[in-house]
Amino acid sequence: MKHDVTVIEDFLRATLPFSEMTEEALARAAKSCAIDFFPAGTRLLTRGETVPREVLIIQTGAVKLYLVDEEGGEILGDFRGPGAVVGGLSAVRGGPANLNAETVEDSFAFRMPVAVFLALVETQPAVAQYFLKSFSETYVSRAFGELRRRRVPPRSESSLPLFATRVGETLRRAPVTVEPGTEIRAAAEVMAEEGIGSLLVRDPAGGIAGIVTDKDLRRKVVAKGLDYRRPVAEIMTGPVRTISAGEDCFHALLAMMKHQIHHLAVERQGDIVGVITSHDLMILQGRSPFALFRDIEVERSFARLYALAEKIPLVIRPLIEEGAKAGHVGRMIAVLAEALLDRILTLLQDELGPPPAPFCWLLLGSEARREQTFRTDQDNALIYQRPADPGEASEVRDYFLRFGRGAIDHLVRCGYPPCPAQMMASNPSWNLDEAAWSDFFQHIVTVPEPEQVLHATIFFDIRPGFGFTELGERLKAQVVRLAAKNELFLRFLARDCLRARPPLTFFKGFVVEKSGEHKNHLDLKSRGIMPFVDAARVLGLRAGAAECNTLDRLAAAHSARLLSDQLHSEAAEAFELLSQTRLVHQLRLMEAGKAPDNFVDPADLTELEKRTLKEAFAVLAALQSLVREEFHLQA
């Protein structure tokens, strides 16, 4: 029979930052605590008066911290729930409390003498770090881990070490190489003997000149009736695409899908040490995004494409289980969505006849940023080259409008809901020739009106999706150039991104919707993710960056020295955490047969998640105040 009550010890062991202390220090600290009860409405601290002799660690209940303004109104500072510490800051600083504290629920709390608390801050690095409030990497990674563990219970049948396995680990043998002068027949014999599907071809300098695969033998030799005695160098593909041995297999998969190849040479410190094949990756996977990608790629009927589109969410879950972050998933969804778009537009061209002029399908918004989740509204546009003969203009316009409408129709049937604001290539306003697009951007950048800026933000997230991509790239480059040099426009954009700031985030409280269907829920998208996207956009444009992915934009702003090292890494982590929380939330809803949304009930979050989310909002506030300073805006 146990002779001790371990309630305090057990609680502290599960509570940051005490959980990071040594076992011995934890036990000693627990012994010093007394357990107290404060009914709802008990004043714990009075600003400027109470000099706390003890800090409170909330066991159950909730405490609000607040200020009183001149009119006697309350300004909410923070809500603290189970596991949170009240009075820690004034204990560290000494002197009276700088906020009022009052219980808002019946609360049990551990009273820890200030001297004990200060000793912990001094001797336990984790405690010190925690109360110095840095958005620490260790906590973030633990929060990610917890999200994954708690939200996505592992499914036994799917074990996909795509993210855990490095490319180098999949190599089972040294690469088999031949001289460029080797006869094709001899090379084929080597492949047959070794039981391999590819050979690397050496160059005279000792490096690797190219690769020969089964497919090359079939297509370039057998099918064409090429002489088997020709040198292998004639049929090889070179230079060979490589991937670093230290990359994870997910990146290998993406590279293969992107370049539509099945072999990558693996490079370690400048040397080619082996070959990774799509087959190696298939073996690593159970249900495979790659297989789905292949199915989409070869599909020739619209109806079956709709059916394949429905499978996209199914391959995402195993990725999340494997530890994919929202960024990974966004890119994977983008690759699959592009393959689908590619097929639909190709089939549509077959149906409507060849396009009368070069054109480019433009992806806008989250799709352009590669940050879409399961079901994202369509946001797209179309740009085409104005025909040389003005007489053909209306004919060309008609074709592309028909094309746009047809494509949108098919995409809707694939499960991508139409954009409520009609920002789609089926809308004549967003289906324009090059000159008209150019005029449009000139106009919104040089004559910014608040209303227009609001609608324009989506046009600054552009990515060519299909067709004559140079057209899209050219437009994008022009847009970035225009925006970067137009201070007035950027200030409008900056002001707009500050307006979207959640009002209470400033106080670091946990902000929930006050009314409506989602009362008491946290809107992760509008309060968390979009403000990050907006801030990154204006900073990225300021830095003249063409990238539109939020993490890429933050990186660009960092290289342009707009962002400090610390704020950059904190912002990137905070954004990923928010995106991940939303992704897992949506996955859960979908698995429960509900439509994915962005509203999270704080009661469903663990203490660690809540805390890390709160820290993420604090980082957002820091990012926004940086934007404010950068553009000299008033608070």
Binding site: D4, V7, S32, A34, I35, D36, F37, P39, Q59
Partner: protein
């Protein structure tokens, strides 16, 4: 009267066993109880016993758990927890409740060895328990036998306090006839949303009772209970005149 008592004590039959020094001190501590002392200045012992049955004449104590309160806060570092070897074999029915097996208690000490230490732990504290009368009946029976007298510590019953608290909550006269109301320790803990402890371990039950006591003492009379007298008088304000 005093003369008669002296006279009787002179006779061998009425000569009392000398009081154990611990109990003498205990009695001395409570000769005068200041009912106007703030509760925050009082020390309490919240206790619970596990028993072989409910009949004090036949059943025995198999474990004692207790924790101190000071300044109306639980001192989780000041606890008492002992298994007791009963004189008779442990009935199976009781093992099923408190999960203490005969082999566990075989290694334990006799109540005679444990009780003095517990009386020392009780010291000059006020005793708190859930349905404390039952625990005290068993403890006093043992005290009389082993130490030659009863404990003088005043007792507070959280079950009684819970009744008073519930009466305060009544808005309609008929609510008092609600038969679904439970006053079991674990049910009250659940109803008030207290941190929970596993039931039927003496120390855990004592902790659960301590949480319940803290809760009730501060919730009764809207937090208006400051002194021992307030607490005793709270029980009299039943709204029985509806």
């Amino acid at each position: 009267m005093a003369g008669l008592a002296d006279l009787l004590r002179g006779l061998p039959f009425f000569r009392k066993r000398p009081l154990h020094p611990l109990l003498a001190a205990n009695r001395e501590a409570f000769r005068m109880v200041d009912h106007d002392r703030p509760l925050a200045a009082c020390r309490f012992t919240v206790l619970d016993t596990e028993l072989t049955g409910l009949d004090a004449a036949k059943s025995e104590i198999v474990s004692i758990g207790a924790v101190h309160l000071e300044g109306l806060s639980i001192r989780a570092d000041q606890t008492f927890s002992q298994l007791v070897k009963p004189l008779r074999a442990l009935p199976k029915a009781s093992t099923l409740i408190h999960r203490i097996t005969p082999s566990q208690v075989q290694g334990a000490a006799d109540l005679a060895e444990i009780l003095p230490g517990f009386v020392e732990f009780l010291d000059d504290t006020l005793v708190v328990g859930h349905h404390v009368g039952l625990d005290m009946a068993f403890l006093n029976k043992a005290c009389r036998k082993i130490l030659g007298g009863k404990l003088a510590n005043p007792c507070l019953d959280t079950l009684h306090m819970a009744r008073i608290y519930r009466a305060e909550q009544w808005e309609h006269y008929y609510e008092r006839y609600d038969l679904k109301v439970s006053y079991a320790l674990s049910d009250l803990a659940a109803e008030y949303g207290l941190p929970r402890f596993p039931a039927h371990n003496a120390l855990d039950d004592a902790m659960q009772t301590a949480y319940l006591f803290l809760y009730l003492v501060k919730k009764l009379k809207d937090g208006g209970i400051v002194t021992l007298r307030d607490l005793f008088e709270a029980g009299r304000s039943w709204r029985w005149y509806f």
